[in-house]
């Protein structure tokens, strides 16, 4: 049985598109003329990032260029997604160091636990987000690459108020 079509009669003032189109155009005009334009001309213009932004890592180094990491194993232990690989070893002077240190930034959830747990303030998250790569392998940062990073490191807490009170 074919359904019945119910025809609703509306006054012209309500059913005409002219009113709605005019309203839309007025919004367009208002934004066009407004001094508060939001469109950003990326990449010519870049975001000003907050100091606590959590992006890809950077390894701190000693004055002689050696990574500060002492291969304590705390960051691979605390990392909730298990994306840090560490193989500790002994160097010529008998110090403990990371023979292999890799972070899979693709798997990382940027929680910041590694930075928080590090006893020697070696590994840091970075104020950085431009990380496009052509392959997934390139997302695994080895120690050399972590040391080479130049962006600012993340401030995980406000030095004025470390306990966030």
């Amino acid at each position: 049985m074919p359904g019945e079509v119910k025809v609703v009669e509306r006054p012209r003032a309500e059913s005409s598109y002219v009113r709605a189109a005019a309203k839309g155009m007025s919004i367009t005009m208002r934004h066009l003329l407004s001094p508060n334009k939001k469109t950003q001309q990326y990449p010519d213009e870049k975001w000003e990032l907050a100091p606590r932004t959590r992006g890809t890592h950077r390894m701190a180094v000693h004055e002689d260029g050696r990574a500060k990491c002492v291969a304590c194993g705390l960051c691979p232990t605390v990392c909730p997604v298990n994306c840090i690989k560490l193989v500790p070893a002994e160097d010529e002077s008998g110090e403990r160091y990371a023979a292999i240190y890799e972070i899979d930034e693709f798997r990382c959830i940027f929680c910041g636990y590694c930075q928080e747990v590090c006893p020697v303030e070696a590994i840091h998250l970075g104020v950085h987000y431009e990380n496009a790569e052509y392959s997934r392998e390139r997302w695994v940062y080895d120690l050399e690459r972590l040391v080479e990073q130049e962006h600012d490191v993340t401030a995980l807490w406000d030095p004025q108020d470390p306990a966030s009170q």
């Binding site: 002492v70 304590c72 705390l74 232990t77 500790p88 002994e90 403990r96």
Partner: protein
């Protein structure tokens, strides 16, 4: 122990709980009966001397004006001990504060972190802040023997290491040098630490001051898995714990067993165990069935899956009947493996199974008569003896006809034609030595560290060991493999669990009558025929 007519036991109250202990018991030990572990450094249950010098175990005893060290205080009737009173706690906290004055707090790179009594007690006593402004004394690290490193700054001068060497190993080459905050552990001038039991000083060290060189920086304590096991180095069968990381043995520690090794083990055993499971292993079942058609003989050994290999081997054995022949077994095979092999050999009419035991130097720990590194360098010669094994010398003889079965012997010294004239040559092994080249079938089996099982030690004590590692490739425990071959021949069932294998062995082998897997527990139990251990040349030595 009771002195002139004194009672055999005393009853005292520790932290509000009444406990009755043999008289002569120290309060620190009595407290363990009520589940209270009093913090301690210098006290170690395996070291007879108790200098009461660390002052960590101080407890309050009602009616006594001062705190008493519980490691030397004898329990007495009606004593009321309080281990957790405010005074006792404060005293412990001060001890920790003093110990931390010069401690480098290098837990992040210390191999004891996570298993360290200084770390633990610093938390327990809540000693988290230092009131000391002076710079710390720095001493650095030293090599105390060819395989042990000494990190002087971490040492708490408990002297356990010195007293183990002096009072247990009766070797006075280790001393405390200097005094006060300059004190450190060193060898006596002109002497070297070179004792076959010296590795135990690393185990008694309550902190990370003494570390085996081959373990330094290898693994954090929380990265390791542990399995209760037995040292296969010699027929003493010291109880050990195997620590593994990423399927590799990284450390071996003695496990207490008053009847065998007390708290200790020898250095040979330690090194021998760490080296097990290195090297190339047999990983796939191989058969020589003349190609893919499965009905022929000859041709090359080719890898197949387990079902094919077991079917083919069972078919061959079935067709052979009882031709007699010879067998070579390893004295390192477990009781279960040897039992199943014996069952198979009986079926084939093979009476003797030769085993050869490598020999080495012996070493004794003077104060622990049960612990001795014995000349036989094999775990289970006694077990091999139970199952018709025959001690042999010289290269294995593989020239007989009939069936030839080899269980995990590397066939050192065997000639090119070893097993060439046998009607059927079955090789069950963890590795694939050249002499297995003439085998008709090779079945890859797990080492003792990769399975559960038991060994029989020199005095007939049956001791359990537990799986610490995953076997490589398709290798499986020998008893699992052999029970499947036998099941295909209509003899018993295929077992997947060591309990099943042990049960059948206990039911059929008189030496193991009455024993159960759960019954022998983690400390082992004597076999029924302990008196007549056939395989060990050294029984009673």
């Amino acid at each position: 122990m009771a002195e002139n007519g004194a009672k055999a036991t005393v009853t005292l109250k520790i932290d509000g709980v009444e406990v009755t202990v043999p008289s002569g018991t120290r309060v620190i030990e009595a407290a363990e009966h009520v589940g209270v572990v009093v913090p301690r450094y210098c006290y170690h249950p395996g070291i007879p001397t108790r200098p009461a010098q660390c002052r960590m175990c101080l407890v309050e005893v009602e009616g006594r004006p001062k705190l008493e060290p519980s490691c030397t205080l004898q329990a007495a009737d009606d004593m009321v001990v309080n281990t957790a009173s405010d005074t006792a706690r404060t005293a412990r906290q001060s001890v920790i504060e003093f110990l931390l004055v010069n401690h480098p707090l290098d837990c992040p790179i210390c191999d004891a972190a996570g298993q360290c009594m200084l770390q633990d007690y610093a938390y327990v006593t809540n000693q988290l802040e230092s009131r000391v402004d002076e710079p710390k004394r720095i001493m650095g690290r030293d090599r105390i023997s060819d395989d042990i490193l000494y990190f002087a700054d971490r040492c708490v001068i408990c002297t356990r290491c010195v007293r183990f060497m002096r009072d247990v190993a009766e070797d006075d080459s280790l001393i405390v040098a200097q005094r006060g905050d300059k004190a450190y552990i060193d060898t006596f001038p002109g002497r070297e630490l070179d004792n076959p039991f010296q590795g135990n000083i690393v185990d008694v060290c309550p902190v990370g001051a003494l570390v085996h060189e081959d373990f330094v920086f290898k693994a954090r304590s929380w990265d390791m898995d542990a399995a209760a096991s037995v040292c296969p180095g010699c027929p003493t069968g010291c109880n050990v714990t195997i620590d593994t990381k990423e399927n590799q043995i990284v450390r071996v520690k003695p496990r207490h067993n008053a009847a065998v090794n007390s708290w200790w083990m020898c250095d040979y055993g330690r090194k021998h165990l760490v080296m097990t499971n290195r090297g190339v292993r047999a990983e796939l079942p191989l058969i020589r069935d003349g190609g893919g058609d499965g009905d022929g003989d000859g041709g090359e050994l080719r890898p197949v899956d387990w079902a094919t290999a077991l079917d083919w081997v069972a078919e061959k054995i079935d067709a052979l009947g009882s031709p007699g022949g010879s067998a070579v077994v390893s004295p390192d095979a477990s009781n279960e493996n040897l039992f199943y092999l014996r069952t198979l050999l009986d079926r084939l009419g093979v009476a003797d199974a030769d085993f050869r035991v490598p020999q080495g130097e012996t070493a004794e720990l003077p104060t622990v008569p049960t612990l001795k590194l014995r000349a036989d360098r094999a775990a289970n010669a006694a077990g091999a003896g139970f199952f018709g094994g025959r001690r042999a010398d010289g290269p294995p003889n593989g020239s007989a006809g009939g069936a030839l079965v080899v269980l995990d012997d590397e066939l050192e010294g065997a000639g090119e034609d070893f097993g060439a004239s046998a009607d059927f040559f079955l090789y069950l092994g963890t590795r694939l030595p050249g002499a297995a080249r003439n085998a008709d079938a090779v079945l890859p089996i797990a080492t003792f560290a990769e399975m559960d099982g038991t060994f029989t030690n020199f005095e007939g004590r049956v001791q359990r060991f537990h799986q610490a590692l995953r076997p490589p490739g398709l290798a499986r425990p020998g008893w699992m493999v052999l029970s499947r071959v036998l099941a295909r021949l209509g003899d018993g069932e295929a077992v997947d669990d060591v309990r099943g294998a042990f049960e059948r062995m206990a039911a059929q082998a008189p030496a193991f009558a009455g024993l159960t897997w759960d019954g022998i527990g983690l400390k082992g139990a004597p076999a029924a025929e302990a008196a007549g251990v056939a395989g060990s040349a050294e029984a009673g030595a």
